[in-house]
């Protein structure tokens, strides 16, 4: 490993990895070429991508020779290109299967966007800031979407949970 790659790796492990791990994912430096760092994200889908801009800022601040960041999936798997149809199919599952059930907790899941096979959703109402939001997302929404939309690469929660004003469940001291 080159000195540049070693320095990037040190920054990733010290300053970036804990945040990604805390979100259920992992991140490794797959390579550094012509100043561009390739990071391989794995584990929980969506754990690394929402942090991409922060990760880039951290790495570039610590290693000025870096000119750009590229995030790839496990094994560099190319993402699906069928984004238009994907969005429609995701929306149909959300509307038909997921939102009617989540309404019982005053919640709603909306499609925030589709990018190279990654589906970004936003939780609203009772789900925004709910202490069980991750359970709903990973045990319910994600498997339901995967069953109907098998070409979905991963599911990213882009919700600003801190801004939720009426979470269905709030955490308590234990």
């Amino acid at each position: 490993m080159t000195d540049l790659a070693a320095r990037v790796r040190a920054v990733v492990e010290r300053s970036v990895l804990p945040s990604v791990v805390a979100r259920g994912g992992s991140l490794r430096v797959a390579g550094v070429e012509d100043g561009v760092v390739t990071l391989e994200a794995s584990g929980s889908p969506g754990a690394a991508l929402p942090l991409a801009s922060r990760v880039e800022a951290l790495i570039r601040a610590a290693v000025p020779e870096v000119t750009g960041i590229r995030v790839i999936g496990p094994g560099g798997k190319p993402p699906s290109a069928a984004t238009g149809g994907l969005a429609d199919r995701v929306r149909r599952v959300l509307d038909a299967e997921i939102n009617p059930a989540i309404a019982a907790h005053r919640g709603r899941v909306v499609l925030a966007g589709v990018d190279q096979g990654w589906v970004r959703v936003r939780l609203e109402g009772g789900c925004q800031g709910c202490s069980l939001a991750e359970v709903t997302l990973r045990q319910g929404v994600e498997p339901l979407l995967r069953a109907s939309v098998p070409d979905m690469v991963g599911l990213i929660d882009v919700t600003d949970h801190e801004a939720g004003t009426a979470p269905f469940f709030s955490p308590e001291k234990r």
Binding site: G24, I98, A101, E134, Q139, G164, P167
Partner: protein
Amino acid sequence: MSAPDVAGARVLLLIPAQTYRASDFLAAAHRMGLTVVVGSDGALPLGGRPVLHADPRDPERSAARLVSRAGPVDAVVAVDTPMLALAVTVAARAGLPHNPIESVMAATDKAAQRRRWAAAGVCQPAFQIVRASAGDDAMAKAAAGTGFPCVVKAVSLSGSRGVLRADDEAGAVAAAARIRGVLARAGRPAREPLIIEEYVPGPEVSVDGLLTNGSLAVTAVFDKPDTPAGPTFEETLLVTPSRLPGQVLAAALDTAERAARALGLRHGPIHAELRIDTRQGRPAPAVLELAARSIGGLCARALRFTGGVSLEEMVLANALGYRPPPAHLGRPSGVLMLHAERAGTLQAVGGKAEAAAMPGITGLMITVPVGQRVHPLPEGDRYLGFIFAEADTPQDTAAALRAARSQLRLTIG
């Protein structure tokens, strides 16, 4: 700890609806490649991998339902205190290693644990248990018998909720009345007693560890440098590793292990709070409380072990039969818990960007939505948020957290 090869193992996670820790345990399980079955009292009628309904108030019936519906599992893990008794009941039915139910119950009842420690000779503050039916005279007499200053405590609450220092008999009577109000609002049974214990001056630490067949592997020791002297006891700053001298630290760990053993705990995580009593000239650790779970709130996010392993991963691996090696943290780290300084509605949180940008700060989360009512201790039942930091030394970590806190403006009106 490098993550043990447990991929594919099936774990039943019992997640109470009102916990800080659901996402961290799910993330840990995902990272380890575990197959997760979730039981919760907040289950939604959603498909996918359906969440099984788990009612911690009815452990026997819930356990029977969970065992029949979850299928075979390799471990049962309670994500937070309310699920501890149910997890033990399920594990017993499933033939998995588990703590005795009476030990887990004792760990959730400060009066029961004090009696057990007294019987086992574990060093703790002098205490008296005062029945719920006791009048003001009996309370005053018990407080006078303990000596002043003393601490009046609820037996069932956590996070310094329902805990007040009293400096005289009238103060003890007033503290007891206020704490009984806190208990009533928390929906606790009216029959719950209170504890009056001596106030132990000195540094406070918390010890987290994992038990395997009764043997404790310590995962973290936090110093709590800003713990106030009362009348309320906000847990604010936690910094690890501890700066206690080696002999004192060893004595504290030994006390924590003996306290766990005296309760009869043999498996899983523990979180103990100790004061280092300095009154006799020679530092002597005294255990204040011990819970059969890992550290509360989001505080575990301050911990990261070799290879990026989280405390939740350690807990899950331990439940699957792996004994963790000695803790190996990357750098000194810490967490600062945000409390409401007065009652009211949280109207705004300012200075977040400035706080997060302070050197050493690795994370900041506000966990109470703007617009919600908040209360200070002894009533306060939630943290306003958490700030996380890492630095080259514990002192620098504490300084970073204090500096970040000074940037935050919590408006409560």
